[in-house]
């Protein structure tokens, strides 16, 4: 059965967990594997942290809108903000230095999701992440 839902949050790090739990509730309810739910959980958290810290520069009170759709084949998360679009291409894929204390988020998102696109929409940023049901 198809699922379509939206979640609105403001740009506070403390709000991320609520959004993660909302998305994983839908993924679990739609029968995604435990591993896939875990991947969605972590990837969404990392993406929202990036939006708050980098797109909004840590400014609180800004709006973030998450649209979730689930069908027979995939789960799609679209995260919209009203800040400048995120230039993913500016962040080169470099080997992870296991002693650094930050910068793991983008690589985790790429590894956890089956498709990730950073683009722009409605004068803001849009991150579209896809998790396939049977990847």
């Amino acid at each position: 059965m198809a699922v379509s839902d939206t979640f609105l949050l403001t740009s506070e790090l403390a709000r991320i967990a609520d959004a993660r739990h909302w998305a994983t509730g839908h993924a679990s309810g739609a029968g995604f594997s435990e591993d896939a739910v875990w991947a969605v959980d972590l990837a969404l958290g990392e993406a929202l942290a990036n939006v708050i810290r980098h797109a909004y520069g840590g400014r609180e009170g800004e709006e973030i809108r998450i649209a979730l759709t689930i069908d027979a084949e995939r789960l799609v998360l679209e995260i919209r903000d009203s800040a400048a679009p995120f230039a993913r291409e500016l962040f080169r894929a470099e080997p992870l230095d296991p002693l650094r204390t930050g910068g793991y988020g983008l690589q985790l998102i790429d590894e956890l999701m089956d498709n990730v696109v950073y683009t722009s929409a409605d004068c803001g940023g849009l991150i579209r992440m896809v998790k396939l049901r049977n990847a």
């Binding site: 992870l96 296991p98 204390t101 930050g102």
Partner: protein, 112 residues
């Protein structure tokens, strides 16, 4: 995130409970900073009741590990669940952090 602290054979064992996620990272950083006080410090974080960790949590653990090693102290991690362990693996931090299967294993290793 909640925590409790005990001493086991001279090792400071910190039981962490909940999610080590981005909004909890500053509190975890402060906690570890207060526990790693000098070269004699031996701190074992019991992750058995940690249900989730993200890159911010990883960053705090790496920072604590690095500062401890530089000071001659030790910080270890015990009993991570499968999801937490997988984040260590994906970030390659399992190659540098001191990770033990159980609290007794960690206490024995850090006390050696």
């Amino acid at each position: 995130m909640q925590h409790s602290i005990s001493d086991q054979h001279g090792i400071t064992v910190v039981v962490l409970e909940g999610e080590l996620e981005v909004s909890e990272a500053p509190a975890l950083r402060d906690l570890l900073g207060s526990l790693v006080a000098g070269p004699q410090s031996r701190v074992l974080l019991d992750l058995g009741q940690v249900s989730f960790i993200d890159s911010s949590g990883i960053g705090v653990l790496i920072g604590a590990h690095r500062r401890a090693e530089e000071a001659g102290a030790r910080v270890g991690l015990a009993a991570p669940n499968a999801g937490v362990r997988r984040v260590f693996e994906l970030t390659r931090t399992d190659r540098v952090l001191r990770i033990y299967d159980s609290v007794p294993d960690g206490v024995a290793a850090l006390g050696a």
